[in-house]
Symmetry: C2
Subunit: 380 residues, 2 copies
Amino acid sequence: MDISPLQQARYAYQPKLPAILRKDITSIAPAFGEATGAATDADAVKALFPHTYGMSRVTFTEGDNQAITARRNVGVILSGGQAPGGHNVISGLFDALKAANPENILYGFKGGPSGILEDSYQIITSEFLAPYRNTGGFDIIGSGRTKLETQEQFEICAKVCKKHDISALVIIGGDDSNTNAAVLAEYFLEKNHGIQVIGCPKTIDGDLKNEFIEISFGFDTATKTYSELIGNIERDANSAKKYWHFIKLMGRSASHIALECALETQPNICLISEEVEANKQSLVGIVEDIAQAVSARALDGNNFGVVLIPEGLVEFIPEIKALIDEINHLLAKEATAFNALTDSDQRVAFVSSRLSKSSQAVFTILPDEIQKQLLMDRDP
Amino acid sequence: MDISPLQQARYAYQPKLPAILRKDITSIAPAFGEATGAATDADAVKALFPHTYGMSRVTFTEGDNQAITARRNVGVILSGGQAPGGHNVISGLFDALKAANPENILYGFKGGPSGILEDSYQIITSEFLAPYRNTGGFDIIGSGRTKLETQEQFEICAKVCKKHDISALVIIGGDDSNTNAAVLAEYFLEKNHGIQVIGCPKTIDGDLKNEFIEISFGFDTATKTYSELIGNIERDANSAKKYWHFIKLMGRSASHIALECALETQPNICLISEEVEANKQSLVGIVEDIAQAVSARALDGNNFGVVLIPEGLVEFIPEIKALIDEINHLLAKEATAFNALTDSDQRVAFVSSRLSKSSQAVFTILPDEIQKQLLMDRDP
């Protein structure tokens, strides 16, 4: 297939690397520093990870490293929801492996963690990789949500790795996947399987970070893409001068995306879930705040604006959280009586009459459709 | 305010110009060619535009044009919905005016055509214009939907132009605004007001064109912006491999945007309203076509895809168009009886029972919410 000049430029782009990683790979040596630990519950974590707890923090420095040229095979797995940058992680891994030894082989396990369990893989070659360089998505080898967490699964992983002479497994995923990767690493070390496990933190939400990980990949692209669209909408709002735009952004359990987009685009209002929770704001209070901002702008003749709302907001409002907990408890306890009702209005009345006074007050002001949604089965 | 390097680059960008317009303005001369005419109904159009019909088509050629340096003032009006490129039209106008004679003044009438009626304007200066160069939106002077169509309005326009010594008025707008601009030009010529009127075709939908106007501004940006987003969604769909995305695109009375985006992004399905109308497709037929495409992909194990739908589709489906016409007629005829009903279900039943058999069949298969929407007051 002919590719356009734009595609050619995209594939040829070289992401900026830290100075140390720009050197010849045989001049990059690992330096072993202080022992790593756990931020909290150190004793409990240590007990769970007897073989891996306290391993040295590794940094890269300039130094002779001929050992890196020893031939080896590596496996890579994409886990969970796609995030832009995933293809670049695989590209970087591939380029470094081939720079170390052109005979090295990178196995991409297909469709997420289930790929290694089913020994379903794609050998990553330069030609195969080319059209995925600097592109978003996880379509290069696919992703999946299977969790690697049982000993039986770990043994299959070891068997498949040994079959392909794989001595390192890179797992690109979120907090769950990285936790499971740590457990797998502990298991491999305990059983002396000789297979390294490397977790690569991925989350668009930007809430997987610590003093060593400034930010996970995906967040930067997501917030820049959002901000471009929000900026367009702001320009549009400022042209039409007659609409308020309410823009829902990703971020169920963290508002980092909303905050970063707000800093980039300066909307009229940006709600931050964590702030709402800390200030114990009520739903009515939030609505009043918005209404007052709209009203204040109207007094200046500006009947338009932009409001950013993180998708997880509602679960951070203390009274709504309490209401949801109460409903969950109630539906579990009175499942038979509730399920016997087939009419959705009857179901709403059934639940409403059994709620505490405070939760009932919140439930009552919600629109019909939302009341019904709250009574549906949902991901806890 | 400090501006970022990105903003600086954006403001400094020089749009590509046709070769002739890159020359010194005193070297660009108008060449008067064949008489213009009307594509259809020439006699009727000629009767309506006795003074302007048949004027020469003007092209620009290289030639001495010192006359262009005579001092003059020009007015500009943005009319209708915003379209990216509007700020560039004003920038180009300003730059050419100042190149011709630095003493020339560009009046931007504020908030659309009402700006000239109210003599509300902004004098465009280099400093004022700078932060709007190469940006989207119509926020530089605002737009509006007031129509200039009465003789009384035309006289006010002439008076305001004369007050500011304006000898040319540029109206940037869609088909309505350009029609009214033509009527205004005819009026000014008839009354010998000595004010030129220039219409600049604007529509994002891309349906304002002929053999001389390849495309109106806005369409290119809109389709590229849409296509970038559709491409991202396709990449996402191909990563998650479990969702069909139905994407509604602008284009109520033309599907040019959907077609151009389909050519740029190659979705699995793209509906074209004009094709649906020409093939007299039914709603059920369209749904069956989509279902069959979804089913065919499922047989290949691909339970995901992207469908592009122009927003005006429903009005192009002959049976729906007939249904809407019938409902409009019915509601006008039986307004009293209909309005006496307060319950929306009763209203639906009232209308349904009075429809022709064929329209009733279509109405019946529509979801409740859509049935109710069809009975609401709406823009005809």
